[in-house]
Amino acid sequence: MAAPMELSCWGGDWGLPSLHPESLTVMAYAKFAGAPLTVNTINNSWRAPKGDVPILISEGIVISQPAKILNFLRRQKYNADYELSAKQGADTLAYIALLEEKLLPALLHTFWVEAENYCSVTKPWFASRIAFPLSLYLPGKMSREALNRILLTRGGPPLYSLTEVEAQIYRDAKECLNLLSKRLGTSQFFFGDTPTTLDAFVFGFLAPIYKVCFPRVQLQEHLKQLPNLCRFCDDILTCYFRLTLSGHSPAGQDTADANLQKLTQLVNKESNLIEKMDDNLRKSPQHPPRKLTTLKLAAGGEEGSPLNRLSP
């Protein structure tokens, strides 16, 4: 209806259209509601907007936070929540609050505070996409802001050291993932068969945890044990994000995602087999151990191939 709107946000990698949870939420919502958006990923030219990301620019109006962007899209008649009842709308707000309180601190920690992750993955990735010399300053600032937010919201007494706070926020995040998994159950999306705002938010928060390859991955491992959430992310990626990624050929993306799905299923089967063999081992001590190690190596080898797609 309106002229095409432009969205400025962080770009993507590892099969995701964006690494930034809020940008991903807005992109997913736009896909669900059918809003025509041209996505401009921030690159290292100086024309990139400074300040809040993601930013929606439409006919000269600039809107900056995800909640406001979603409201704007709804007012432009791109409404993904059209068929929700009032109670479901209320549930949406409640679950979004749950995500922000319980999952976001751990997400911020995994990306920005955990030293190994930050130094080997996050900082180089973001620095390569910001113009010099801002790239020397901005990732550090984002990391400090993340730590600040975690400490101010979760770090009061009786938790006095950073390790205790970390332990608590990861516990909360794992509980939150379990709750989401129970709520999703076996249905395809949270409210039936069509995706809504809540699906956009959950996808925006879960997909970076699920896909980005970090050295320290306790949250990702926990998420992989909840197959319905993994299936949820994969479904949205394959159905809604096939065609628009610049620089990714759609067919290649398709087969890559299908391969990834097969690999995940294989890994799950292997881990079930390993558990059964473990049980057998405990019952009959003369069971030859060699089989176990070769199986484990095979599982490790298959998990290694997505790592090859890590760009410098």
Binding site: Q65, A86, K87, G89, A90, D91, L93, A94, Y95, A97, L98, E100, E101, K102, E145, N148, R149, L152, T153, G156, P157, P158, L179, L180, K182, R183, G185
Partner: protein
């Protein structure tokens, strides 16, 4: 955890008439409502330094036997360990919903109350600063309130609320009340027949907002727009707070009337 609930359990909060602020009063009332719903007797004790006595720095906290537990979340778990629980009858999906709604109340209502008390200049000048330091002599009262204000403003900035105007905050409160009202519908409690900790939490916040007089009435007007929420508050007040024993009778009488937080 194996000991039964003692008779002399006490709940500590700040001084009711002069010192306590909107957000602390809401949290305290939520805990009192929860304990009443579990049928556990509790005595409310008002101390000027309740915040400093608390193990986590937040009020209210309860002193049961030889243990001290603060804030609604840990208190619910503590009470559950003693064998009383309001949410046992819920299935997994309902428990997830209950937790989500409790986070919604904490995220929106509590943060809005904190914003109003500490970031809105008019309210800060006229209500918060005089009340917060009132038990202490000058200059300690001013120092303590400025310190607390700085802390709260830092937190607001970290979560992105510092840039919001009062209208935006009130709009958020309205959205939250709308969500709660829609979820409650025509049922007596949020999970139909039995009250849960979510009902206690919502009651604590909404009742405090409705009965506290601030510089403007806008906050309570937002809640009054939803008649099922006001009926809900009245119902819980009648069932759990009136006609209840000598311990809480003074607190109840003071609370049921429209109270003024102005000096």
């Amino acid at each position: 955890a194996a000991e039964p609930w003692p008779e002399n359990a006490a709940l500590y909060q700040q001084l009711k008439e002069e010192q306590i602020l909107l957000s602390d009063n809401a949290s305290s009332l939520a805990v009192q409502a929860f304990l009443q719903m579990c049928n556990l007797p509790i005595r409310v004790v008002c101390r000027a330094n309740a915040e400093y006595m608390s193990p986590s720095g937040k009020v209210p906290f309860i002193h049961v036997g030889n243990q001290v537990v603060s804030e609604l979340g840990p208190i619910v778990q503590f009470v559950k360990a003693k064998g009383h629980s309001l949410s046992d009858g819920l299935d997994e999906v309902q428990k997830a919903e209950m937790k989500a709604y409790m986070e919604l109340v904490n995220n929106m209502l509590l943060t809005a109350e904190l914003y109003l008390q500490w970031c809105d200049d008019v309210t800060v000048e006229e209500i918060t600063h005089p009340r917060y330091g009132s038990p202490y002599p000058w200059p300690l009262n001013r120092i303590l309130s400025y310190q607390k204000q700085w802390e709260v403003r830092r937190k607001m900035k970290a979560i992105g609320w510092a840039g919001k105007t009062l209208e935006q905050v009130l709009e958020d409160v309205d959205q939250c009340c709308q969500a709660l009202s829609q979820r409650l519908g025509t049922q007596p409690y949020f999970f139909n027949k039995q009250p849960t900790e979510l009902d206690a939490l919502v009651f604590g916040h909404l009742f405090t907002i409705l009965t506290t007089q601030l510089t403007t009435d806008e906050l309570s007007e937002k809640v009054k727009n939803y008649s099922n929420l006001t009926a809900f508050c009245r119902r819980i007040e009648q069932q759990y707070f009136e006609g209840h024993d000598k311990d809480s009778s003074t607190t109840v009488a003071a609370r049921s009337a429209k109270r003024s937080l102005l000096r």
